[in-house]
Symmetry: C2
Subunit: 369 residues, 2 copies
């Protein structure tokens, strides 16, 4: 059947070109007589795959040479522990709690040292990015190993539009759902990490980009850090201390190249903003649907919205599905709807969703729920 | 080009049928209008994929209902830490050190408690499975949380042909390279785990099968165990506490079904033994090549061999490659050659390797190295 309009929060839509390329070479990669799925990670052919993936990513994000790129497994969730195990050298870090995942990261941090909440928006069910003034003030004391944020809150549809000023304290960011949706100034961060399954590839790969100074001494908690999770070791082994997710990295490399060949991250961010603006404009004009995130915190990656009636929300989700629109059910923590409009979601798909919303609203007086 | 004869130690050959199926549905899985790579792990379509994978695996191995099946990430290496973090309740475990990976597992165990070496074959560079009498005697004391073995030593080409008698002490086995190569009596074990990239699927998936009594209380070291690594939590969430490697699990499911449809594990073991016997017979008859593992410890999964001359070994590896035979270079820790003859390596491929070995030996007098 025709490809649906896929608004899944992750795993999410991939560029059709990437899928077709992977399909065409699935039984014979690069004339090797075997699938990339069957290939030793130690082979020269595969080494070229991971090297090219890293090189392309470095070009896309202009990653300085004193940052290391890692391809890991276990999702952002495993890094919630990896960050303190590697970086909490003085046993004290700050966390901004702006959603479900940043709260989980904070809880994990509490296992390994003193994890201090510097700002939170839990009081309004995470419908905003909290005021970051206290973060700047607290970081200025200079005793924190890092400040951790989740830069885009997938579930709540919010996003940091400016980064906290942490002075010389390293900023660590879970950027899972905004990674590669726009340029990032890597030098503003000590470490970023992202589950690939939003804008960067399939699930099962976590990309980390870390300043080499932060990892030079090995894991802060080498006494208890699982060897696999040591950033320094994985960096020294080119992400191949053990067998990585070879196929996942291969697909990420294809996605990186697709971004580069469709004019890079500045152009990608423009397209993503245009998609988001169309959706937010529709919400602002609607008498039925309204956005759930506060305006100045709205995400360009995940657009959360609802009616004022849970039954109507459910009816809309079914209505959309009948029109080939999938994945718009909101997360249970916020309810309603969510459209994840990652890189591979086209303006055409967003247009289809907007048309569907307007049609649903127009037909509403004649509906019996 | 034609498919090569692939003897890689992992990632390794996959059944061609599995690859062709995955290829044919890569852009539209089960009429969903999207790739399985793009599909939410929370969708009913994907839930059916992971459910079927588990159900097939349960049939293949006759897994009792009081064992839980987990699909994790991070390879066997991450489980070297996961095992003690979850199971070392009294802080004391026994390890059999029969190769590189079992030694790494032991070292990791030392981080989290007292990890005692009960038997080792390091004195002869791991060319054998050590005598297991001391294991039985030590386990009988009843104070160990578990006894850990690596059941097949990929690098050294050795394999346990009987399991240690641990009495009531749970036996934990890294079965990565023999998993699904033959039936296993699951009830002999407390826990087995395996990187999938040998007989079970692609890299990036780790399968664990664990007795529910062992995990009921949560991780032994809940104070420091990364949440992701908690067996009880992952079991309670159907391996979806966070986003799993969705595509990897999907492919594992296809491999499981392929095993079932090619008559299951008894038949698979017969084919694997026949392949191994042909190779070992060739080695035993040869005046040039000889096996590196002691006879009663020989693996049916990884056949390690060499000439007595490193240059000749290198010449043979090139000679084989010219004949479409890939992946026979031995691991640097043992040198020489290694043929990994996992499930998807056909007798035809093994025959091609044997022919190549004989040809090389026959031509030897006329070769100048």
């Amino acid at each position: 059947m025709a490809r649906v309009h896929n608004f899944s929060a992750g795993p999410a839509a991939l560029p059709e070109r990437v899928l077709r390329e992977a399909q065409s070479e699935l039984l014979d990669f690069a004339g090797s007589g075997m699938s990339v799925l069957e290939m030793s990670h130690r082979s020269p052919v595969y080494q070229a795959v991971i090297d090219e993936a890293e090189a392309t990513l470095r070009r896309l994000l202009a990653i300085p040479s004193n940052y290391r790129v890692l391809f890991l497994q276990g999702g952002a969730t495993l890094q919630f522990a990896g960050v303190p195990l590697n970086l909490m050298r003085r046993g004290h870090a700050g966390y901004v709690v702006s959603g479900n995942f940043s709260k989980l990261a904070w809880k994990e941090g509490c296992k390994y040292g003193q994890a201090e909440i510097l700002a939170s928006s839990e009081d309004t069910n995470f419908d905003r990015i909290p005021d970051l003034t206290p973060v700047k003030e607290r970081a200025a004391a200079g005793d924190l190993d890092y400040v951790h944020i989740c830069q885009n809150n997938t579930i709540f549809g919010t996003q940091f539009h400016e980064l906290p000023d942490c002075g010389s304290t390293p900023l660590v960011a879970d950027v899972s759902s905004c990674f590669l949706s726009m340029p990032l100034d890597i030098e503003r961060y000590g470490l970023i990490y992202a589950g690939a399954q939003k804008n960067a590839g399939p699930s099962g790969v976590t990309v980390a980009i870390v300043h080499e100074d932060l990892i030079e001494g090995g894991p802060a908690r080498a006494d208890i850090c699982p060897t696999y999770m040591g950033y320094k070791l994985q960096a020294s082994k080119g992400s191949m201390y053990n067998t990585p997710n070879t196929f996942g990295i291969y697909l990420c490399g294809k996605v990186f190249r697709w971004i580069e060949e469709t004019d890079g991250l500045v152009a990608m961010a423009q397209r993503n903003r245009a998609k988001a603006e169309l959706l937010y404009h529709t919400l602002d004009e609607s008498e039925l649907f309204h956005g759930t995130a506060q305006r100045d915190s709205r995400s360009i990656c995940n657009v959360t919205f609802r009616t004022n009636d849970a039954d109507l929300d459910a009816a809309f989700i079914s209505f959309a599905r009948e029109r080939g629109i999938e994945g718009v059910k909101g997360h249970r923590l916020v309810g309603g709807m969510r459209a994840s409009i990652y890189n591979a979601v086209t303006m055409d798909s967003v247009g289809a969703l907007v048309t569907c919303m307007k049609e649903f609203e127009r037909e509403l007086p004649s509906r019996s729920i």
